[in-house]
Symmetry: C2
Subunit: 336 residues, 2 copies
DNA sequence: AACATTCTCCAAAACGTTTTGGGAGTCAAG
DNA sequence: CTTGACTCCCAAAACGTTTTGGAGAATGTT
């Protein structure tokens, strides 16, 4: 409530001593320290953040920009991750905030505002694009950051990502092993690294199996996008018998297309992200997800190490993808 | 990039003049102003946010705490709302950030940290409880805030809310008019104002129609909670023929319970929130939503007026609820 | 010529904290 | 008695900005 000067005055001490007492320095006697702490507690003293930042030349703040663009980030996991991350950053004296992007501005604008106004010590980026201007900007400013998702940037940067290529290749091969030959892919916007990566995984598997890669449709990473893309694939003269979808949301949209076209029990389908919703669709949605227990902690750790100056190459984590089998991936395969 | 001092030096002007030139004061000549602006642009000067805040005694920041608790806030609308709000606040020179709650801390802790550290000028609160300690705290500190959702706080405070009571009453009466007599309610945790309000609406309608109000089950405001609550109601000797659900997520969980128990086409159901996902369930979910076009703008406006010192009573908006009819609310009604 | 007015500009203070570089006082050893 | 070490405290500077209260020059007015 009060400020340091008032607190000092009321105690008959100097500002310096009060400040150092609260910070636990050894050059203030134990009795004084205790006296100061009690008084501070009593009046609920909290240092003024701006003054502290100005003096320490550190914002004690980390920001993550919230993509507002087309598809929303899988909120449940995303938010869990951020809570965990915030917890570990807090232990290092850093606060985490999410910056929504005002309509009419870009994520890059936000980065600029936060970085050039020295409002943050580091940044977190999610939903990277293959060519990501935010990454380029942060690299040009030399501010520490970690991305959730890789990019095709020439200069390496710290990231955590799932191995979408391997995951989607494995999922496709599994369909092949189950006898499927017409395996379609519902792809996300290819400018996103994750969408491109997953598409490449499907394509690689199809080519390994000597299958054509024409059963691919792209859409927005939302239910509606998946719905439209699925309708497009179902319109083909030779329909797919299985669908590998870039995201769960798209898979849920596709599920509706399947229900409309063939009653929904003919075609196998798998998504990615393990949205809680997937357990409640009809049929329950089989999916994949990134392995790794405490993702938030990993992000925090990478970020702290980036701030400490470790090089980007040491700060890259690629996690394997695991299957979450429910029902949608094993619809009975009927003769063509 | 640079400093005001450095910028002034490079121009042969005083710090004062440069500062005032950039702020567009009239007491610096047009030519100097232009010269300063060009130089500032060239070196990419941005004022140091901490210094500015310290001097102006305003944080130029508004924070909203992100409930991590049990149920997640309907992300699509929530995020849209925040983008719109951020846009309008930005026009007033205010930044908006979302503060996730670190594991191990409470939303109240976050409020405390932001408010007592003078990090924010105002706050936004979502998912209010009937007795909400965040509201009490902010009131005790006298800091401007607006909530999304009412509370039972004795002192009035600014809010925007949907009229859940009227909405759920209307939905229940509609089922009654369609011939339903056993209308169940799947309720959210009653400590939340919205959940209690909606439950009261259902109860009021049932009592008006002279029907018993025992077909009510409470659960977490998530798919799983709705699923379990629905199973509970379906276990009753005399099953409901229609279900009014506190949220869409709960309704989607209930939908799965219906599918498991009776194939899913016997019981009518309606949710609330108009989640995009609802258009893709089976059957497509009928739902309700708060009316009002530019919710973000409303929030921003209320917040700015609260900061300007208008009294709480003038800053309360209660919005009507409208139906979003899809299929789930008109399952054929079969004789008991 | 004397005075008021307007136009530009600036030195200095202030915001609240942390940190630097000592300054008293006490005590024990030389 | 002097010296050095140690303990406890503090004055002042610094962080980078905005704002206050003029100063000096040019212009207009009597």
């Amino acid at each position: 409530m009060a400020n340091l000067k008032q607190l000092a005055q009321s105690l008959g001490l100097s500002i310096t001593t009060v400040s150092r007492a609260l910070d636990g320095y050894a050059d203030v006697s134990a009795t004084t320290r205790e006296r100061v702490r009690e008084a501070a507690d009593k009046v609920g003293y909290r240092p003024n953040a701006s003054a502290r930042r100005l003096r320490k030349q550190r914002a004690e703040l980390v920001a993550v920009t919230l993509p507002s663009d087309p598809g929303h980030i899988g909120p449940p996991h995303f938010l869990d991750m951020l809570s965990g991350c915030a917890e570990h950053l807090a232990a290092a004296g850093l606060n985490l905030v999410i910056a929504p992007v005002p309509r009419g501005e870009s994520e890059l604008d936000i980065c600029r505002r936060f970085v050039d106004g020295r409002r943050v010590d580091a940044m977190l980026l999610v939903r990277t694009k293959r060519k990501d201007e935010r990454v380029e900007f942060l690299q040009s400013r030399g501010i520490p950051f970690v991305t959730n998702g890789r990019t095709e940037s020439l200069a390496p940067h710290p990231y955590i990502d799932g191995d979408g290529f391997a995951g989607f290749r494995a999922a496709t091969l599994r369909f092949h092993a189950a006898g499927h030959r017409r395996i379609g892919h519902i792809a996300g916007p290819q400018e996103y690294y994750f969408a491109h990566d997953r598409c490449r995984g499907w394509r690689a598997a199809m080519e390994e199996c000597g299958l054509a890669t024409d059963l691919c449709a792209e859409g927005a990473p939302l239910e509606q996008g998946g719905y439209l893309a699925a309708l497009e694939l179902l319109r083909q003269p030779s329909r797919p018998t299985a669908l590998v979808c870039a995201t769960d949301e798209m898979a849920i949209g596709a599920l509706r297309a399947l229900r409309e076209v063939d009653g929904g029990n003919q075609i196998s389908i798998v998504g990615h992200d393990d949205l809680p919703m997937g357990a409640f669709t009809s049929p329950p949605l089989s999916t994949m997800r990134m392995t790794g227990e405490h993702l938030g902690a990993s992000f925090a750790s990478l970020l702290l190490r980036a701030i400490a100056g470790e090089t980007a190459e040491e700060l890259q984590e690629l996690h394997a993808i695991e299957f979450v089998d429910r029902d949608s991936h094993r619809r009975p395969l009927r003769a063509a």
